[in-house]
């Protein structure tokens, strides 16, 4: 039972990091990205590739994954952050589709459709970490670092600038804020931390393929932010906990037929989300008003 809970804990930590990073750009800067799974995937493939071919040291794979994801985010940000609102959503959707094709076709780096198999466990000063309980501690530390970084950022001048851009881009620009630069930096920070989550995910699972980084994942991360509470610090974590533990909890209801549990999960899931959005549109920990 301990391992099972630790395993769930690892995934909750990884997805919490992803939700926090998306919340940072979505909730604070108003950048609605449908490509967050791309940054997650780039970090995962970078970490997995390095661990398989060079070193699985945490000091190698995490920085490499973060730099690669941040660099990719610049490629997206520089041309597309000049557009606003729904245009950026469309551009990020395009990147998501493009990335899935690249993940599938760039075989020497991603393993193609077959993915990367047998990724070595992450090592911290020579000690390999692969047991769920030990790995949970690693991801918990990563989550704490992420919370601290974004906590500091949103309370800083930078955070205030982001909120100003979210509320009125034109007004922020009129007050002398360098809107494209602030948006680009925020996206790069967000992508770097999402890349870190990807490297941890790849190391923990020992296997990654394109199925984990498709549009569904981007939508799932966005759902975690919205359900938890957009623009709040604890909301994305609550969203990740709810969306990852609810299906697992339902599978323990022994009176339900096990082979029908998937359909029942989806009914409960869908109904819950609809009711939540009807009666608490700000999310579980967000403001309740419409």
């Amino acid at each position: 039972m301990e391992n099972y809970l630790a395993n769930l804990g690892v995934l909750i930590c990884v997805y919490s990091i992803l939700a926090i990073t998306l919340n940072f750009i979505m909730g604070y800067a108003g950048i609605f990205s449908l490509a967050h799974a791309v940054f997650f995937g780039v970090g995962a493939y970078t970490g997995g590739f390095l661990a398989l071919n060079y070193s699985s040291s945490i000091l190698v794979i995490l920085p490499a994954a973060m730099i690669t994801s941040a660099a990719l985010s610049l490629l997206l940000a520089i041309p597309t952050l000049r557009v606003r609102g729904e245009y950026f959503v469309a551009a990020s959707l395009g990147l998501q589709i493009l990335a899935v094709t690249l993940f599938t076709e760039w075989k020497w780096f991603t393993g193609g459709i077959g993915g990367l198999v047998g990724i070595p466990p992450i090592s911290i000063f020579g000690t390999e970490i692969f047991r769920p309980t030990s790995f949970f501690l690693v991801t918990l530390v990563a989550l704490a670092v992420t919370i601290a970084i974004f906590g500091l950022l949103v309370r800083s001048n930078f955070g205030r600038s982001l909120r100003a851009i979210r509320d009125s881009e034109s007004a922020a620009a009129a007050f002398g804020k360098n809107v494209p630069l602030i948006k680009t930096v925020s996206l790069a920070i967000s992508a770097a931390l999402a890349g870190m989550a990807g490297a941890l995910y790849a190391s923990y699972l020992s296997f990654i393929n394109v199925e984990s980084f498709m549009l569904d994942t981007s939508v799932l991360i966005m759902a975690m932010v919205i359900i938890g509470g957009t623009g709040t610090q604890i909301g994305p974590i609550v969203g990740a906990v709810v969306l990852l533990s609810l299906p697992s909890a339902i599978s323990y209801l022994n009176f339900l037929p096990q082979s029908e549990i998937g359909a029942i999960q989806q009914i409960i899931y869908g109904a819950g989300m609809t009711l939540l959005m009807l009666f608490r549109p700000g999310g579980i920990v967000g403001s309740g008003g419409k």
Binding site: Y4, N7, L8, K107, V117, L205, F207, I208, Q258, G262
Partner: protein, 374 residues
């Protein structure tokens, strides 16, 4: 008070005199019951359900066998959560698995915890490389080449092959196998063309096949794409013999007029066989589900039955039913009487089945020959 004391003493005597009930035995079942591949959940698990019924009716094991089904959605991440539950909470020694991505994701967890995982649905050749705790009760796609290609060369006299293969582990392994087999039997691979998994336009490939002078073309693709390839090859004047593997045994491919005469391979399961295991399976499957069993049903029946055979042997020796003991017992026993006859495992944990070479005639498949793969 005396009454209570006497009752307690009597209850204690009865409890000591009554033999302890045998513990129930649980194995895992990782199938997609929701999501885009939900349709496979029931298809893949029905054979296993029938096997459980037979095993319990025959009292093969000391306790009642049951399968703890977990929904994977055919995706790696939910599968890892489900596998951890099976391994850490339910502590199963053995689990049924399906789908390539799912199988690769759970393989390290199974190997670390010494839990046997057995696949009866995926045919990706890399499923043979997931360690000794991962077994396959289905012939993998690369083995099918060893049946069809020699037949086409020797019986039909076609020696110049073109290959169209999807650019993934499946296509790559078929290419490797085809090159090796053709070299062995004196055929030539005159042209090989890789395609993206999402490609749908193949008229250019047809021109290349024509210009290569190939008299046989092997199609290593699946789903809607394989149908498009066949159609566009014929529409663009390719009259070479078309050959493929088990993914061709689906209604879409069989009913395509352009596929008339195409040859494909499939796992040989003689459902008409008179051995008691096959006979009982076929009769009871029809009675239970109202239709003829398909190879997937056979495979998961066999996978579950294999567990019972191994566990029964371990119990007879007084050994615990663990993944490590099941693996050792499989290696010791070597071959097994399952649906389709007596079968044995390769060293890499893949079950060897004879393979049928079939030809499409009027939308149906006619078996040309059955080949024992070595």
């Amino acid at each position: 008070m005396n009454y209570f004391r006497n009752f307690s003493a009597a209850a204690a005597v009865v409890a000591l005199a009554t033999p302890a009930a045998a513990e129930d035995i649980t194995i895992g079942g990782l199938f997609p019951f929701s999501g885009t591949n939900a349709v496979y959940g029931d298809v893949l698990s029905s054979g296993a359900k029938l096997a459980v019924k037979h095993i319990n009716a025959d009292k093969m094991l000391s306790g009642t066998l049951s399968i703890a089904y977990e929904d994977t959605q055919a995706l790696p991440q939910p599968a890892v959560v489900a596998m951890q539950k099976l391994v850490s909470v339910l502590e199963v020694p053995f689990t049924l698995t399906s789908f390539t991505g799912v199988s690769k994701a759970i393989a390290p967890i199974g190997a670390r915890n010494e839990v046997v995982m057995i696949n009866g649905g995926g045919v990706g050749p890399d499923l043979a490389e997931l360690g000794e705790y991962f077994w396959n009760v289905i012939p993998l796609a690369n083995l099918e080449v060893r049946a069809s290609v020699p037949y086409v060369v020797e019986a039909l006299g076609k020696t110049k092959f073109a290959l169209i293969y999807v650019d993934d582990p499946l296509g790559g392994s078929i290419r490797n196998e085809l090159e090796g087999v053709l070299e062995e039997i004196g055929g030539d691979l005159v042209s090989e063309m890789s395609i993206a998994p999402t490609a749908q336009q193949f008229s250019g490939l047809a021109a290349k096949v024509r210009s290569s002078g190939a008299d046989a073309v092997y199609i290593a693709s699946y789903g809607a794409q394989q149908v498009q390839i066949a159609k566009q090859l014929r529409d663009n004047g390719v009259d070479a013999q078309m050959i493929s593997y088990s993914a061709y045994g689906v209604p879409d491919a069989m009913n395509l007029p352009e596929n008339e005469g195409a040859i494909f391979t499939a796992q040989a399961v003689t459902l008409e066989a008179s051995d008691p295991v096959t006979k009982r399976f076929v009769e009871d499957y029809k009675a239970e589900f109202g239709k003829d069993p398909a190879p997937y049903n056979v495979n998961y029946y066999n996978a579950t039955m294999l567990f019972a055979i191994l566990a029964q042997a371990l119990e007879a020796e007084g050994k615990e039913i663990t993944g490590a003991n099941l693996l050792a017992k499989r290696k010791e026993m070597g071959s097994f009487d399952l649906v389709g006859g007596n079968v044995s495992f390769l060293d890499n944990g893949t079950l060897l089945f004879p393979i049928d070479v079939k030809q499409i005639e009027g939308g149906a498949a006619r078996t040309l020959t059955t080949v024992d793969i070595k």
